[in-house]
């Protein structure tokens, strides 16, 4: 059987004896992985083999054994990596250590660590940069790179313990820094946004770099109860999946009326038809805020619009976000472990992000939140779970956030709550509203 052959090859080759005398190690047979070279989609197996087959490179034997171990996983349907502790001088995280549990069979890949390196915000590269990254990784690592990990990092996969520092130093000299791992602030992601998208409502690069670089110490020296992720999407299409995949989602939005180019609306109706426009744009508005006028222009009830983006996604030339742009902040998204997946909750419906002062406010809010998380979350508890445990009112009070009806789908339905200070709370609300109204009047 195929699997017996592989074992024989692994033991009969250079594997079992450790440092053997042969110059060209025998290649592991990979009949299962070979099947992943078929089909039209570009194959990662072909890439792994290319590294294995490169003459005169130190990583070739490593990749041979890596392929051997991977084939072994395909046979046994088990993973064979365990973690450990590997880091670079001065940092407590960012390297994902991987030690093989089957190193006796595959000694050259017994250490196969990943370096998580933060990419330029928005994943912009030029070819010169990509080539330099490749050259460095060819020198110190396996030559295998993932662009990018789910965490948002460049994953330089496959490095010996001895080479981790050398590889990092060289990346660091090029202006690249280690990403996050463990109970720490993690590497972030931002959408293409301002660089190429008309729907972008704030400067994603600035927000991304401002916040992550401000709290970089929390990334490099893990000391939080658990991981903490920021993600930055320029509009509610949320192309980096921030609401679900981050503890802190900054989602672009706008407060004033959406922009409607009525001539382009008419052109859209003329080309797509009235029925299609009604069925696919007007009727799909989730809050019935749209209506097609008899002259094929669009009537928008901006007070009912929830900034879902559907009509703008369909009529890209006719409709656009308004001018009073900024962002919403949602807190508490995460994946399954351990209470189940959670989406972030709307905490700050709108902040402006234009001036230095606006960004200082964003940093201040984030600092308060991270401090609250550090002091109040239990070990291995994400901020969303922490909020669920203590209740949203206690969380809001601790952070000095006022309750806002945008935070909820509907008010509570359970009567089991103590309300003897309801009147005081209502008075605070009215005072707040009066103050807001007063400020608006004064500004005028």
């Amino acid at each position: 059987m195929a699997s017996d052959d592989v074992t024989k090859t692994a033991q009969g080759g250079c594997g079992a004896s450790g440092g053997c005398g042969c110059n060209t190690p025998q290649k592991h047979a990979t009949p299962l992985l070979d099947e992943l070279e078929n089909g039209p989609w570009p194959s990662f197996v072909t890439g792994l083999k290319r590294l294995r087959d490169t003459e005169g490179k130190s990583y070739a034997p490593m990749m041979n054994d890596l392929l051997g171990q991977l084939e072994h996983s395909y046979e046994e349907r088990l993973g064979f990596w365990k973690g450990g502790t590997v880091s670079v001088v001065g940092y407590g995280g960012g390297v994902i250590p991987r030690f093989s549990e089957v190193a006796d069979k595959f000694p050259a890949s017994k250490e196969f660590h990943t370096l998580r390196i933060m990419p330029p915000a928005g994943y912009h590269y030029n070819t010169d940069l990509l080539r330099k990254l490749c050259d460095t990784w060819e020198k110190h690592g396996s030559g295998l790179i993932a662009l990018h990990g789910q965490s948002g990092d460049i994953m330089f996969q496959g490095c010996t313990t001895d080479n981790v520092q050398k590889a990092f130093d060289e990346f660091n000299e090029m202006g690249f820094d280690m990403g996050g791992a463990g109970p720490a602030m993690r590497t972030s992601m931002s959408c293409v946004g301002h660089a190429r998208c008309e729907k972008s409502c704030y400067d994603e690069v600035r927000a991304h770099r401002t916040l992550i670089n401000e709290f970089i110490d929390e990334m490099h020296r893990p000391a939080l109860p658990y991981k903490f992720k920021f993600k930055f999407s320029g509009c509610p299409n949320d192309c980096v999946n921030a609401i679900h995949r981050s503890d802190f989602a900054l989602i672009g939005t706008w407060r004033d009326d959406m922009k409607v180019n009525q001539e382009e609306v008419k052109a859209y109706v003329a080309s797509h038809g009235r029925k299609y426009t009604i069925d696919s744009v007007v009727a799909m508005c989730p809050t019935r805020a749209l209506s097609l006028n008899d002259d094929d222009t669009l009537d928008v009830d901006n007070k009912s619009c929830v900034r879902c983006m559907h009509c703008m996604n369909v009529m890209t030339k006719a409709l656009a976000p308004g001018d009073d742009r900024g962002a919403s902040i949602l807190i508490g998204g995460k994946r399954s472990l351990k209470v189940g997946d959670m989406m972030g909750i709307m905490m700050i419906p709108f902040i402006k992000l234009d001036t230095d002062e606006d960004f200082e406010k964003l940093v201040e809010f984030s600092r308060n939140l991270i401090e609250f998380f550090a002091e109040n979350a239990l070990e291995h508890e994400r901020i969303g779970e922490c909020i669920d445990r203590i209740g949203l009112p206690a969380f809001l009070e601790a952070l000095g956030i006022d309750p806002d009806p945008n935070m909820i789908n509907h008010p509570r339905t359970s009567s089991y709550v103590r309300t003897d200070d309801f009147t005081d709370e209502a008075n605070k609300y009215f005072e707040r509203k009066a103050k807001e109204a007063g400020l608006t009047v004064a500004a005028e």
Binding site: E35, L36, G39, W41, P42, F44, G47, L48, R50, L70, E76, R77, G79, K82, I96, R98, T114, M118, P119, A121, H124, Y125, N126, D128, L130, C134, W137, L144, I145, L147, G149, Q150, Q157, D169, N172, D177, S188, C191, V192, H194, R196, C197, E198, R209, D217, H220, P236, D238, V240, I243, Y276, S280, C308, M309, A320, S336, L337, M343, E379, H380
Partner: protein
């Protein structure tokens, strides 16, 4: 003998500035774009308020790339584009060019080297990708292999835009669900409680932390064969695998214990409906490396039903919301079982507490 040099201190430079690498037209028109359209699948055309235009050609990659693949992609960028690229959240590469007549030669060059151009608009884009057997320490399957196999079968849907709306597929190699929410999610589902190596537990596991990690309080400290260890109440255990990362002697993986489940209707965007979680359709599919044909068959059935029945712009979950779950199971031919009834915290909110019925 030289004394060892003082270790180099890291320059804590943080997130790199993207502007030195950004295409000049993107830099010039940063924050000032007016509209866009898609001249053909795989190509975006953006127009700035200044009147500048930029064309983007998007191509699929295997994500896990050897340096030679990356250099090949760079060669194409230098020869047929303008030396600037970016990557999408789903590991597609994007080439930006300033002239329309550069688009077709660029597409030809990519296709000639085996890179599919597509993944834009209402297509099936690249599958969001986790690590799996290649590098994860707790994987139930191999993400790269599942993704490669599925993208082979979905190739035509990547290079065309024939779906009612965009389709975002995710894979996860365990129930932690690193792949996230998707229109279709292909996730390992463990079906057996952990097998405990009692000789190792007290040596490598911090027992209280493991007890605390269990979401259903099924783990308790115990003396086994005179050694401090842990035991699992197998009646309570939901086979989630959460105890395995902090305590590898609680082996959750194994040939008889990793199966694949397929989920539908997850969504990240806020367009029309709010972001949504995916819901279970089929469980207990075999973890059938190296090509997972049973998974491809299920995904194919779901996509076929969606493509033929959804209205334009309905995402998978929105389509099912309209036609109802009874019709979804009828159209796809999958069984509806007691395992589709949620039993987790808040399960009641997923029940139909009304007289609304689909016949």
């Amino acid at each position: 003998m030289n004394t060892p040099a003082a270790p180099r201190r890291a320059v804590e430079s943080g997130v790199p500035d993207p502007f030195p690498y950004m295409h000049p037209l993107m830099k010039k028109n940063y924050g000032n774009w007016a509209w866009h359209d898609r001249p053909r699948p795989g190509v975006l055309h953006h127009v700035a308020k200044s009147g500048d235009e930029i064309w983007t050609v998007r191509a699929g990659t295997p994500r896990q790339m050897d340096v030679f693949t990356i250099r090949k992609l760079c060669d194409i960028a230098d020869r047929f584009a303008e030396g600037h690229v970016r990557f999408t959240t789903r590991s597609n590469i994007e080439y930006m060019v300033s002239a329309k007549d550069k688009v077709e030669p660029l597409i030809k060059a990519l296709n000639a080297e085996g890179y599919p151009v597509g993944g834009t608009g209402n297509s099936v884009s690249m599958i969001s990708h986790t690590q799996g057997w290649l590098h994860c320490d707790i994987p139930g399957t191999d993400a790269s292999g599942v993704v490669k196999s599925l993208m082979d079968s979905l190739y035509e849907e990547f290079v065309k835009e024939e779906m009612p709306n965009r389709v975002r597929i995710t894979t996860s190699c365990c129930q932690i669900n690193c792949g996230g929410q998707g229109d279709i999610s292909i996730n390992v589902q463990y079906v057996k409680p952990p097998k405990i190596n009692h000789d190792m537990v007290s040596k490598v596991c911090e027992r209280p932390a493991v007890v605390a990690r269990c979401p259903v309080a099924a783990i308790r400290p115990a003396m086994v064969n005179g050694k401090p260890s842990l035991e699992v109440d197998e009646q309570k255990c939901v086979c989630c695998g959460a105890c395995y990362p902090p305590c590898p002697p609680m082996q959750i993986n194994g040939t008889d214990s990793t199966r694949i489940a397929v989920w539908v209707g997850g969504k990240h965007s806020n367009a029309r409906s709010k972001p949504a979680f995916h819901k279970l359709v089929v469980a207990n599919l075999p973890n059938n490396a190296p090509r997972w044909p049973e998974v491809a068959e299920v995904v194919g059935k779901i996509l076929h039903a969606y493509k033929n029945n959804a209205k334009d712009w309905e995402r998978m979950g929105e389509w099912i919301e309209r036609i109802g779950w009874p019709r979804f199971f009828e159209l796809t031919g999958f069984a509806f079982t007691k395992h589709h009834l949620d039993t987790w915290t808040g399960a009641r909110k997923s029940m139909n507490m009304s007289a609304h019925v689909h016949f």
